[in-house]
Amino acid sequence: MPICFGISFTKTFMNQARSLVHVYSDGSVNVSTGAVEMGQGVNTKMLQVAAQVFSIDASRVRLNTTNTFRIANTSPSAASATADLNGRATQIACEAILERLKEVALLELNLKGVTIELKDEWVYADGLQTELGWKQLVMAAFVRRISLSEHGHYATPEINFDLKKEKGHPFAYHVYGTAIITTTIDCLRGTYEMDSVKVVHDFGASMNVAIDKGQCEGGIVQGIGWMTMEEIIYDNEGRLRSNALSTYKVPDVYSAPKEIQIEFLHTTNDNLAIFNSKAVGEPPLMYGIGAYFALRNAIKAFNPNANPAYSSPMTPEKVLMALYERK
């Protein structure tokens, strides 16, 4: 099952974000963005951005709540683009502070015309470590009345879409991948197990392998649930009949695939993702579509006459009927 998913809000104007970064006089850092943490790990990625740009230990950075008095006019955390948009805004804010700090370092070190870098909490001049550390540098900037705060704004470049022609370049980039899904059906009962899901997924250059892998695994299971066991039922009067966890079944640990393997396709093509680490929220869900067709193939292997309607979810009831369908 191959997938391809475009990253960006398709409403171009929504592809903007802001981040507010404060460096306190003791060298600790506080970051607020428009990103909402909902288990996807976006705050961890935001923290990584700040720590990486400043080249400081992650423990110095704290992520703040998402608040409309600190960050205004936010786009929702959606479209898989939250880390890209808010990460870029955070990067812009941190880089602006960093530039000011570098100028302070030149003054503090009495140097001119050398390249200042920050590496692992130390100031380097032309590649050589100096005696100036992160904390001293920040305090020096504060004493010199240099702003240690910045509000970064990012708007995705290049994207556009012409609604009249229904043509354009709506996506910053696409995410690709392929999954191989195997399943075994109990041909007496119509129940089934997902034996394995083996994926090669295009992460670009993942900035957090554990989180990205978690997003993939969760997406796959949720996608399989949609295609197989989760069955929403409204009656003809528009009343929801599958209105509780007793009547609406989502995959639990027993019905999740017995094995999920994720191979990272590491690509170096320049893209608009944060640090080239491609968006990962939504795309893996679509591997789940493959589960539907794996079941269909298994049914036909047992009963070549079966031709169930192309209608998802492929519940065990539908599987059972198809297993014994006659032409």
Binding site: S77, P170, V200, G219, E230, I232, N243, A244
Partner: protein, 414 residues
């Protein structure tokens, strides 16, 4: 790097909406929702509920200080049903009491009479009756009509995909309290703090700068809290605004499942044309999206179905049409993939169908048609593709041939 929340998650110390310590004097709200999918309200009497012990107020449409409207893309979604109900689960009243128990008991004292009207649940029926949320959209590349006449194989069919419940572990909810000078602080389990701020400002009739929306984290969202967190925040904020008291509403699971929209079910028609060597030359698809009773995010979801209707394949001639159909289900909404999976399911059905009819494995057709860098998507963007790289790598690292051989062996046994 580990997820920074891993320690507090594991120890049960992470703060969600329900973990926020409540202020003294906090009131509890519960929504009273329509038991009928479509009808005209002929009688609504909340007086008995209002005099129930512990109940402070019962709010209905007539109490809204600003606009009774929370529609995001299209202003077609009242916060409270006013005269008409359009889906089962549509809020009609909001009972606010000293305790949650009192509010839940009082709800049963509300007297409601509804004159039922015809109910539509099927998107094709809605489309046939002209019940569309927005005008249809159409993406075209090449000329599919002409191309079909040159195809060796042409197959047509129908493909349906059902909805999906978000089932975030943390249900929807909000906790609001008045600040000085008419301000309100809103804790909301929302993916869109600004959407909540905007919707509440409209309902309260106050400028956005009065409303501070604060979100620590959600116990899952999956799209279900992109637009649909607005309702609960607006109900609580309105009660806080009018009563100058803190108000909290955290939905029970069954309320949440009943009152909120889900992934859009789609019913679709496809037509696929292939050359003798299994290149897909032409594809047509018509999508009937079951939007539910209001627009919510349906127009944007519809658009993404069209964007992803050819999945990972290059097809030179495509005509894809999509209808957003108004039915009497709770307004369906964003869900991880946002219409994309629904579009992709249909092309995969078309390929599976062609493969079955021609007696070739679907993977042969899939692999042969993967989009390459430089190919054009039906919407004009030029691909920078990793499709074949992923596919070939998967074949290699997972030994696809061996997997298939093992499956064939298993299936050949008695």
């Amino acid at each position: 790097m580990k997820n920074i929340d891993s320690f507090t998650h594991l120890r049960g110390e992470s703060v969600y909406l329900d973990d926020i310590p409540v202020l003294r004097g906090t009131l509890y709200g519960v929504a009273f929702d329509s038991p009928i999918a479509h009808g005209e309200i002929t009688k609504l009497d909340v007086s008995e509920a209002e005099s129930f012990p512990g109940v402070i107020r019962v709010f209905t449409a007539k109490d809204v200080p600003g606009e009774n409207q929370i529609g995001g893309i299209v202003p077609d979604e009242p916060l409270f049903a006013d005269h008409h109900v359009h889906f089962c689960g549509m809020p009609i009243a909001f009972v606010v009491a000293e305790t949650e128990e009192a509010a839940r008991m009082a709800i049963k004292k509300i007297k409601l009479e509804i004159k039922g009207l015809p109910v539509i649940t099927d998107p094709r029926e809605a489309q046939a009756k002209g019940e569309l949320i927005v005008p249809p959209r159409k993406f075209v590349i090449g000329n599919s009509d002409e191309a079909f006449s040159k195809c060796t194989y042409v197959f047509e069919g129908k493909a349906d995909s059902n909805g999906q419940e978000h089932l975030y572990i943390e249900t929807q909810g909000a906790y609001t309290y008045p600040m000085e000078n008419g301000g309100i602080r809103i804790h909301s389990s929302t993916q869109g703090p600004t959407a909540v701020q905007r919707a509440c400002a409209k309902v309260l009739g106050v400028p956005m700068h009065q409303l501070e929306v604060d979100v620590t984290r959600l116990g899952g969202g999956f799209g279900g809290k992109e637009d649909q967190a607005n309702t609960w925040a607006a109900l609580c904020a309105m009660a806080s605004h009018l009563l100058t008291r803190p108000v909290k509403y955290s939905l029970h699971r069954m309320e949440d499942m009943r009152m909120t929209g889900k992934r859009h079910p789609y019913s679709s028609d496809y037509k696929i044309g292939l050359s003798r060597d299994l290149k897909i030359l032409a594809y047509e698809a018509t999508f009937y999206q079951n939007a539910g009773a209001a627009a919510d995010l349906s127009p944007a979801v519809l658009e993404r179905t069209l964007f992803h209707c050819t999945n990972s394949y290059f097809i030179p001639n495509v005509t894809a049409t999509a209808y957003s159909c108004r039915t009497h289900l709770p307004p369906n909404t964003a869900f991880r993939g946002f219409g994309g999976p629904q579009g992709m399911f249909v092309i995969e059905c078309a390929i599976a169908r062609a493969a079955e009819e021609l007696g070739v494995p679907a993977i042969e057709i899939q692999k042969k048609n993967l989009i390459q860098s430089g190919n054009e998507f039906p919407y004009g963007q030029i691909a920078v593709s990793e499709a074949s790289e992923c596919w070939n790598r998967a074949e290699e690292v997972y030994s696809l041939k061996e997997i298939i051989a093992q499956i064939d062996l298993f299936n050949s046994k008695e």
